[in-house]
């Protein structure tokens, strides 16, 4: 395929300058999302996924932050754009779904107010009656039977699941090209989460939007995504299609992640991963996972190469050097 990917992240490094030192939070992150693709970013809490998403959107505040690398949208480097231009993209071409829907909505404005604001973001000339209509239609689409009641309500009057549906609707109402979903539904109970995911799948397909889903739950990833990136301590350690990675995880961290998931079938007990996520001001030399890795050797103290095992299939570990098609060091 020769068309330019929608989103291309290259060698993204991000450092926070803190009192305690320099916190190297993102280390050489590389990622691609194509049009209409559903990509997942998996990692445990504190691995940098939220920071990464906010960097893509341009939401981090500027002070004490040092960023290098490129984030290309339709081929154009976002860092080269002015603040105004970046802001222009947000809410229209690139939108975000937040983890906790009740926290994300403003408690003193009605749903109608908030939805029409977003609609008018996409179409400033839209008049309020019209915007209200669009909102109503959109709510019907997500199986909300009494849209007028919901529109008149405040977020605290609605259930978590209802609010989540509102958030998703708001994210898709302006037909964005890319939706960044930050662990949607994690704060809701499991059945609602299910519904939310299915809703998201349907809507994003209908809208033709690409989705970058941040998750820490492998089950969710399997349900929803086509491709997956595994992140640990600010680096991408493995990438591939969901079948490839789930069938045959290559990186020790990915393997450990799978082993830690409780299963209903099979006799194996879940195994926790020894150790803790590193302190980013004093990250381990070389491979950041090596202190916790059962296969670690002396060579791991040097930054591991990125091995290409196949088209779109990469892993950042020396273990599979033998079978690699290509190895990029450093």
């Amino acid at each position: 395929m020769t068309d330019v990917p929608l989103l291309q992240v290259e060698d993204l490094n991000l450092k926070f300058h803190l009192f305690e030192g320099v916190s190297h939070v993102l280390d050489g992150v590389e990622m691609q999302v194509r049009k209409g693709e559903r990509v997942a970013l998996v990692g445990e809490s504190g691995c940098g996924k939220s920071v990464f998403v906010r960097t893509v959107l341009g939401l981090l505040n500027r002070r004490n932050v040092e960023v290098s690398g490129e984030i290309r949208y339709h081929g154009e480097d976002l860092f080269g754009l002015s603040d105004g231009q970046r802001r222009d993209l947000r809410g229209r071409k690139i939108t975000m779904i937040f983890q906790d829907p009740v926290a994300a909505l403003n408690p003193v404005f009605t749903i109608a107010d908030q939805m029409t604001e977003v609609i008018r973001r996409g179409n400033p000339k839209c008049r309020s009656a019209e915007a209200l209509d669009i909102a109503r239609q959109a709510l019907l689409q997500v199986s909300i039977d009494e849209p007028d009641r919901v529109l008149k309500s405040y977020p605290f009057q609605l259930s978590g699941g209802m609010n989540q549906r509102v958030i998703i609707t708001m994210a898709l109402i302006n037909r964005p090209e890319l939706v960044l979903a930050d662990e949607p539904g994690t704060s809701l109970d499991v059945t609602v989460q299910e519904q939310t995911l299915r809703l998201m799948t349907r809507l994003t397909q209908d809208a033709g939007a690409a989705v970058l889903l941040i998750a820490h739950n492998l089950g969710v990833v399997r349900e929803f995504a086509e491709r997956v990136y595994v992140m640990y301590a600010g680096t991408i350690v493995e990438e591939g299609t969901v079948e490839e990675v789930f069938r045959d995880p290559l990186h020790p961290y990915t393997k450990a992640l799978f082993a830690a998931v409780p299963r209903l079938t099979g006799g194996a007990m879940p195994r926790a991963i020894e150790g803790m996520v590193p302190d980013y001001t004093r990250a381990p030399e070389g491979c950041r996972f090596h202190p916790r890795c059962p296969h670690a050797t002396e060579r791991c103290k040097v930054p591991p190469p990125t091995l290409t095992m196949g088209p779109g299939r990469r892993v950042k570990c020396i273990l599979h050097e033998g079978q690699a098609v290509e190895a990029v060091h450093g």
Binding site: L59, R90, G91, F98, A103, A104, V108, Q157
Partner: protein
């Protein structure tokens, strides 16, 4: 739901007011010293003092005295002032509008300056506006308002001579026809521009002196609340959707912050009511507070009790009004959801 809440609040206010009346009454009677003697002076004879004591029911027991007093109040009779020799109620009615105008003017200043300044300070955190507003609020809060009053008088009335020294109107200017008792409004209603300008020039310094502490407090409070609002995720949400920072400040960050700010403003009125005593004294502002100072210095029993009662009632009413406004604005209260 809403009505029930408000009725409960109103009842609580009435109970409190009754409590205040008892408190001040007890204080007035318990303190040693014979009010009748003090009022009549050392030259009066024993009989005259006794007569006055009987008139004032001072020889009866405390509950009886209180009951007599309450009976009077229900008829609008707050007793006779030993100082003006007239009904206390009349004195208070005459002087109340002036104080009300002053408090109103300074409250408007407080809101019009404090809230925008605090919002800007929260938005441009640690910037120039923030530092300036912090300094300004600090000075406002720590400087006694009588010091501001005297300084303003010194600078603007004596050294620069741009504003009048004292009073509500210049001697040559007549008060506008009485509609509300507030000269600024009455003169506008009557179309008397010159009177308006004169009244405005006179109210400027007292209102400013009275409001500076409140402006400082409001700025700090707004800054803190808006700052807190900024920490919430709904602001990140607004940014993620590309809304302009200005709009975020004025709408999404400010509105949730208004509710806690408004609640404290009620308390602020209390402070203003107290500070008015000092400001009115300096500027010879013919208001209730200046009257209060006089009667306190003269130890005029009934007048003191009456003034304190009216002030307490005023304070309670204002708080009730603010509660109503807050209940209206905060959807959580309006729709009857418990807790915040």
């Amino acid at each position: 739901m809403l009505i029930r809440y408000l009725i409960r609040r109103a009842l609580a206010a009435v109970v409190t007011l009754v409590g205040v009346s008892m408190l001040i009454f007890v204080i007035a009677r318990v303190i040693p010293g014979d009010p009748a003697r003090i009022a009549l002076g050392p030259m009066a004879t024993k009989e005259q003092v006794q007569d006055l004591r009987n008139d004032l029911h001072l020889n009866d027991s405390l509950p009886v005295q209180y009951w007599e007093y309450v009976k009077g109040v229900s008829h609008g009779d707050l007793g006779i002032s030993l100082y003006t020799r007239g009904p206390v109620a009349d004195d208070l009615i005459k002087t109340f509008p002036a104080t009300f105008e002053l408090i109103l003017a300074s409250s408007i200043l407080m809101i019009a300056i404090g809230i925008p300044l605090g919002t800007l300070a929260a938005r441009y955190r640690d910037g120039i506006i923030d530092n300036f507003s912090r300094l300004f609020s600090l000075l406002g809060v720590v400087t006694p308002n009588f010091v501001w009053s005297v300084s303003f008088m010194l600078v603007f009335a004596f050294w620069l001579e741009v504003l009048p020294v004292a009073g509500r109107l210049s001697e040559t200017v007549m008060a506008p026809p009485h509609v509300t008792g507030l000269y600024l409004i009455d003169s506008l209603i009557a179309g008397q521009w010159a009177t308006f300008r004169d009244a405005f020039a006179h109210i400027l310094m007292p209102a400013a002196a009275l409001s500076l502490a409140s402006i400082g407090q409001t700025t700090r409070l707004t800054r803190a609340n808006v700052g807190e609002s900024y920490e919430r995720q709904y602001i990140e949400f607004a940014r993620a959707y590309g809304f302009h920072e200005g709009r975020i400040a004025a709408k999404y960050a400010l509105r949730p912050a208004l509710i806690p700010t408004l609640t404290i403003l009620g308390l602020d009125i209390a402070v203003k009511l107290g500070s008015a005593f000092l400001v009115e004294a300096v500027f010879a502002w013919p208001g209730m507070a200046r009257y209060g100072v006089y009667v306190i210095l003269e130890k005029d029993l009934n007048a003191i009790v009456g003034t304190v009662l009216v002030i307490a009632a005023f304070f309670l009413v204002i708080n009730l009004i603010i509660d109503i406004i807050v209940a209206f604005i905060d959807p959580r209260i309006r729709l009857g959801v418990r807790g915040q």
